[in-house]
Amino acid sequence: MKRTALGTAVAAWSLLALGLGSMAAAAASPFEDGVKALAAGDAQGALRQMEAAVAGEPENVRYVSEYRQAVIKTGSYDRAIDFFEKLVKDHPESANAWLNYGYAYVDKIPAAGAITQVILANNALTRFSRSIEIKPTWLALYTRGNSYLYWPKIFGRAPLGVADLERALAMSKNEPKRVYHVHAYVALGDAYVKTDQPEKARAIWQEGAGAKLFPDEPQLKARLARQGEELESYINDQLDPNKRVDTNLREVWEAR
């Protein structure tokens, strides 16, 4: 599994997932219509339906995430950004809406020029921060912490990433184990490397790869197998802003 931004398995989301099951049975929701329209190649219709669904349930992780995946498929990045701008105006206290507003900027990054990428990344960070202000979840902290790592070292964002990721990791230890928690171990190690703390990086990856956690995780193995310049180069390659970051939150509901 590639590094991915994941949803936390908070109880509320579990409930939402249960709700999704009953909605699927109903089959007449705007969301399901949107999915069908997308499958039928009606991109504009799909986005319209999905936007209606998201506007109705801005805290629905699946709706919002699937909507963004449809946006990526159709390249409608600016439309999505405009949509989320309106969504957070209508739902200013929706942490999920703010978080996905940030993701909407992240999703556009690979399609943008080098300097626009910086502007988009910064816009994403401010939206992630607002989401954390409203509700500091594992997902939001992991997401923002991970985002800082994509910034070139010269901009000094990596220490901020360390702080967020340490919080996310600590939070995960107080929650039931979820498969996606591994990403905080991976990212925190990367953050340590980016802040010239390779020993701490190795320690956190080793902890993550422990028998009770994620012993088979390839991302941890790949890092533990490398050292020095080779490791740095590997991590820099993983954090290349020109490569699309997987912002699909599917793992959140699949993990249950």
């Binding site: 020029g113 080098a114 300097i115 910086v118 070139p152 010269i154 901009f155």
Partner: protein
Amino acid sequence: MAVAAGWLLLLAPLPSFGPASAAPAAASPSAAAAAASPPAAAAAAPAGASPPATTAATAARAEKGIGPIRFEEIGAKAGARLLHHTRRFSGKHADVLAMFTSGGAAVAVGDYDNDGFDDLFVTDSESGRGNHLLHNNGDMTFTEVTEKAGVAKGNDPGTIVSDALWFDYDNDGREDLLVARFGTPLLYHNEGNGKFRDVTAASGLNKFANTIAVIAFDYDNDGYLDLLFGNYFKPVNLFDLKDPHVLPNNLDQADNGGGVTLWRNMGNGTFVDVTEKAGLGRHTGWTLDVGHGDFNNDGWQDIYLADDYGTDRLFLNNGNGTFREVTEEAIGFDTKKGMNVDVADYDRDGWLDIYVTNITDEYMKECNMLWHNNGVDAAGRLTFTDLSRETGTCSTLWGWAAKWADFDNDGWVDLVAADGLRSAGPKNYIPVLLEMIITPGIDFTDVNSWPDIGDMSWSGFQRKKLFRNLGSQAFKEMAHEAGVDNDLDGRGIGVADFDNDGRLDYVQTNANQPSLLYRNVTSPVGNWIELKLVGTRSNRDAIGARVTAKAGGALLIREVDGGNGYSSQSSKRVHIGLGTAAKIDSLEIRWPSGLREQVTVPINRISYVKEGSGVVEKAEALRPLPPAGPGTEKERGAPSP
């Protein structure tokens, strides 16, 4: 602040121009010894018929006895080290405007006195400071003759010299000189006695533009060289800004730049602006460089425009005085910071490829573009594929000029690249700039939005790059081993065989810093030929002529270019490395007039070829003509290549 850096440079010892560390210096034989040194492979077996695989190519080079590429920097010794000064501005926006105009360190190579040795014209940019004409003495030394020639001027309080170009606009057999400026250009007629006459007023080249690049080529194949100017800012007077909104309106897709202007040479000493008529008027990018070549092998010169802050453009020549844009289908729309256009068939497949430098640094990973020419498909579509990553030529940091040249005569063109924007104090400008860039609602076009750079560095102290072509789509970066990895703020690269020894040397100009002259001391090298082409029906400089050589099973094509590459013009003499091939199986010249001519020339010699007359003696080739040109426009007509 650029001035401050300049003062520091003058006060401090000059930086080292050799290898970055204490690597052994390359052997530096005297000019005479070098000239006498025979190519190692002259008697060796011909090379294989097809391009070898990368490893095989490397191994084959060792077997052939071609030595590793080596240069020695001899600028000071040769009398060719010239300190460039960037333009200072006064007033509120001084710092930002100085930053945006910090080019201007250009070099143009041309044999202005027809003595068979390429001379140098090197520019300065500070107000009141003169440009330099250096006469090549033939022994790898140069004598400054600027004053006698009368070509120093150009840097006035309201104009900045930015580029220069040798071209014979009136076909009289003498190289004339064009000086491009942020302002109106200057055109000097070569009087033939070491003196030049300013003929700008009579030429009609009177349109103000913030020009940063210029090339000469015959876009309509009428026998006279036309001019294409690449303009950076839109045509505003930067010294008297009425409106501060003159900077790029988008840092990845700007469309408020100066575009290009195409001037048709009317054959009577005048030029007419045909930009709109030719179909180039809609281009409004921040053009940093322009390049030409026959990309689709139809006999007409096409053009590539490298744009800063956004999309490069490719235009194909319709053969009727107009161009059609094929950017979308041929290369797609990019968002990079195009800096350079140079053209060569690096993989010997018979199609001209293009190298464009961009910015690849710790804070911006654009990658250069090595546009591999895929040729024209069955539907008539010309396409290119960027192979910079695959070939290992992706990064030249903050790139400027990059030039193709076969430095070891192994039959594969290598690539040398200048880089580095501004080397000053220890503080880095990038984090400061970042704060501006991420300010919500910031207006990039407003000069007032941009923070002063002061004494900060910005992509400074960067090591130059030299990519050795290993054949079969692979290059090896070896600037350090070759002794050319200086860390100056490079701009232009002018390549020429200055001592006529069959090995290509080059000049590197640097912004606010001294120029460098790298003498090629690679030994032994492969076999070679050099051809000085003289047009008769075609333009006298033979710009646009294509040479196709077949030797040792390899297909080697070259075109005479009229100033490709950022801030620099290389020699118009065609140089072809032959590797171990001891003879040329066939050699054809396709002149811009459409005439195809087969010639036979000896290897390891400079030969002179006159259109329609084949190989001629040097004296005949270089003898100036009366300025009658190849006939009236009506008589010349347009050929069908």
